[in-house]
């Protein structure tokens, strides 16, 4: 979907070039409920009335959203609006944060993932995540990628494992850079390489849903393009949710886009519509660069 160009953005309204001061109350007052259709016909994951609290502070307010099968969903919004928090709810990564409380209904293939007897380990094998900050293990590059396949017993033999590692690294377009030093520590790679290593590590276990939190934040344009190609390709068979701060990236890779603001889901829609014709004032301000 490389058809996106700047021209596709709504022309900047020349009368409103002065930036308004960010007034939280005024922004909240403009919010009356999510605009657009949050549901899809063939939902892989379906979230209803999700509230997330960190201690007493509420980070997510009553969010409804579906992730369709084989759909790429982009999540955008200003820093601190709760994109990572929402993403981490989808495979219960927030369980590791003691103060974090998640309420509402979240289902994967119709099963409630927060149900008591839900096996979190299995859930996370099915819903993989690439974190915002690269966190390679202090192991060799090879062992980093082989970690998931090993614990899930995905490879019957050493050569099969070698194959999985090579394929994953190639798909994350890291192979050419590390092929001759797979035994070196993953922590010795550059920031961008680490980010791709973490992507390779996640896709090595072939999860059904892949959550990506700003997977290209440390990548140069060439590596970014390759990761976007990967997302395009993965999107044919997998469900993907990607958080990004790059509007161009969201427009290039995603089928639908969700705009978050101050813990609320403001607007959801088909990506092209959102970027060419946003309905909500807040969305329009954000994507035209008049944040606030």
């Amino acid at each position: 979907m490389n058809s996106f160009t700047d021209a596709a953005l709504p022309a900047t309204d020349s009368t409103a070039t002065t930036k308004e001061a960010p007034d939280l109350d005024a922004q909240l007052a403009k919010f009356t409920g999510t605009v657009g259709n949050v549901r899809v016909d063939n939902a892989k994951m379906s979230m209803t009335g999700v509230d997330v609290h960190y201690g007493d502070a509420q980070a997510i307010h009553n969010v409804d959203l579906d992730l369709g099968k084989n759909e790429v969903m982009a999540m955008i919004g200003p820093s601190g609006c709760g994109k990572s928090t929402f993403l981490r709810c989808l495979n219960r990564m927030n369980d590791t944060i003691e103060s974090c409380k998640v309420a509402g209904s979240l289902t994967l293939d119709g099963e409630d993932i927060y149900e008591r007897n839900q096996d979190v380990v299995l859930l996370r094998a099915r819903v993989g995540i690439v974190f915002q900050k690269p966190n390679p293990f202090p192991k060799s590059i090879y062992d980093n990628v082989a970690y998931g396949p090993r614990i899930h017993g995905l490879a019957a033999s050493k050569s099969e494992l070698d194959d999985i590692v090579e394929q994953s690294l190639k798909r994350a377009s890291l192979w050419s850079e590390v092929a001759d030093r797979l035994d070196n520590p993953g922590t010795g790679l550059s920031g961008g390489q680490q980010q791709r290593l973490c992507i390779a590590r996640t896709i090595a276990v072939s999860p059904e849903v892949i959550l990506m939190d700003e997977p290209c934040s440390a990548l140069d344009p060439i590596a970014t393009a390759k990761i976007e190609e990967l997302i395009d390709e993965l999107g044919k068979n997998y469900t993907i949710a990607i958080v990004t701060h790059s509007m161009q990236q969201a427009a290039r890779v995603s089928d639908r886009t969700a705009y978050f603001h101050l813990g609320r889901l403001v607007e959801v829609g088909v990506t092209n519509d959102i970027f060419t014709n946003p309905t909500h004032q807040l969305t329009e301000n954000y994507i035209t660069g008049r944040f606030g």
Partner: protein, 460 residues
């Protein structure tokens, strides 16, 4: 002037030097408003003057303290007429005179020779004290004046103060190193004397330890036997038993505390475990003798094993319990310090908690864990009391944990207790053992350091 009031005065002078230099520095640029024209902050100038004020004076005091005694002794002794020495020895006389001065009991009952000496002594000491105070204060004032006279706006006070701090830090570090060196050399010196009497090969490779040397040359069994192997085997045996107990229990409790236990459990359990480390080893010794050793004996007899009433097993078990907190508390801290992001990464791939701990957290914490085990091991090797009480004193060469053994440290203590002249092979043997022990633990440390470094090379 008493040394305490002198030092107080010096500190006051230092504070004054600080303030004066600071003000002077500000004056050179015409007030606080222009402080930015100075090369360094005004406080740096102050600190520089304070250093110049106090350091030379302190060095003087230190040297004075070292040299004063010998110089006075020399002077008093020079006054002594060898003829008047009524069979006495010069050092003895000087000592007596010193004691008289210190106790302040110089009166008409003291015999004239000693009284004369003591008075001379006191006289010299008084003069020396006065001279010391005057010189120290003069140095402080001169130092301050010198520092203040050099203050200009371009003086790099900051660099100088920093360099001085560097020197202080390096000096502190070298104190530890020099002390170690001094200890090693003193032990080495005594050990050399021992090796003059007993060949090193007999000591290192001998298998019989019975250090009783004869008092008369014609006595039976006069030679004594100084084979250190039974002692080192005993030490290793007991330490190995102790580590076998402490390492698994300590590590597992560390993992429980850091990864599984609720914060409230942890906040109670951790201090309680650390109390274990604070119990005096004698108390552990009682526990070993009164409870553990009889229990082992009964257990052994019930399955038809003969167990000595004092056994390596009893001592090792109790010692193991004693060093659990060294392993658990430190390991708990290093495991806690592993970043949460690593755990998240593992959980995010669908790993279970135990997989995450075994494959991610534990390897990442390994250097610290090795360090904690090493600390526990050196405690075990150096432990004496529990062994004396529970494992006995007989130097059996055995690796059977049910028999009585003894360790290097226990033997050092028994060799040196009681009235001893420090020139028989028996007492000198203690130093040889000490030296050996030092090198053993040194090797252990080097080895562990190597392990840690190798691990680091691999993963960082």
């Amino acid at each position: 002037m008493a040394i305490s009031s002198l030092i107080l005065l010096l500190l006051l002078l230092t504070a004054a030097a600080y303030l004066i230099a600071k003000r002077r520095a500000l004056q050179t640029v015409g007030g606080r408003r222009n402080a930015s024209q100075l090369n360094s902050l005004p406080s740096h100038y102050g600190a520089l003057a304070a250093i110049w004020c106090v350091v030379p004076a302190l060095v003087l005091l230190l040297l004075w303290g070292v040299l004063e005694g010998p110089v006075i002794d020399r002077q008093v002794a020079a006054q002594l007429d060898p003829a008047t020495l009524d069979g006495g020895n010069v050092n003895l006389l000087l000592n007596q005179a010193q004691n008289l001065v210190a106790s302040g009991r110089i009166d008409s009952e003291t015999d004239p020779l000693r009284r004369g000496l003591a008075e001379h002594y006191r006289d010299l000491q008084d003069r020396s004290g006065l001279l010391r105070s005057v010189l120290a204060i003069a140095l402080a004032v001169i130092g301050t004046a010198f520092a203040c006279s050099r203050i200009t706006r371009t003086l790099r006070a900051r660099t100088r103060v920093e360099r001085f701090m560097l020197g202080v830090l390096a000096a502190s570090a070298s104190v530890a190193i020099l002390t170690t060196l001094g200890i090693v050399l003193s032990v080495l010196f005594e050990a050399m004397q021992f090796f003059r009497e007993v060949p090193p090969t007999d000591f290192l490779f001998g298998t019989v330890w019975s250090p009783q040397t004869a008092i008369r040359a014609d006595q039976v069994g006069a030679s004594g036997s100084f084979g250190a192997i039974p002692l080192f085997v005993g030490t290793l045996l007991i330490s190995a038993i102790a580590l076998t107990v402490a390492v698994p229990i300590g590590l597992m409790s560390a993992i429980y505390l850091s990864e599984y236990a609720h914060a409230s459990v942890r906040s109670v359990a951790k201090p309680v475990m650390e109390v274990l480390a604070g119990i005096p080893t004698v108390v552990y010794g009682f526990f070993a003798v009164l409870t553990v050793a009889p229990a082992i004996r009964r257990l052994g007899e019930s399955i038809g094993l003969s167990v000595a009433s004092e056994s390596a097993l009893a001592a090792g078990l109790v010692m193991g319990i004693m060093i659990i907190p060294f392993v658990s508390s430190l390991s708990d801290d290093v495991i806690k310090a592993v970043p949460q992001a690593l755990r998240d990464g593992s959980f995010g791939l669908g790993a279970t908690k135990s997989e995450t701990i075994r494959q991610v957290v534990f390897p990442a914490a390994l250097p610290g864990i090795v360090g904690s085990i090493l600390l526990a091991a050196s405690r075990a090797i150096g432990e004496t009391m529990i062994v004396v009480m529970a494992a006995g004193l007989s130097a059996n060469l055995t690796i059977n944990p049910l028999e009585a053994v003894t360790t290097v440290t226990v033997q050092i203590v028994t060799l040196l207790t009681g009235d001893q002249e420090f020139d028989s092979a028996k007492t000198l043997a203690a130093f040889a053992l000490g030296l050996m022990l030092f090198f053993t633990t040194l090797l252990l440390n080097v080895f562990a350091l190597h392990v840690v470094r190798k691990y680091r090379e691999q993963y960082e």
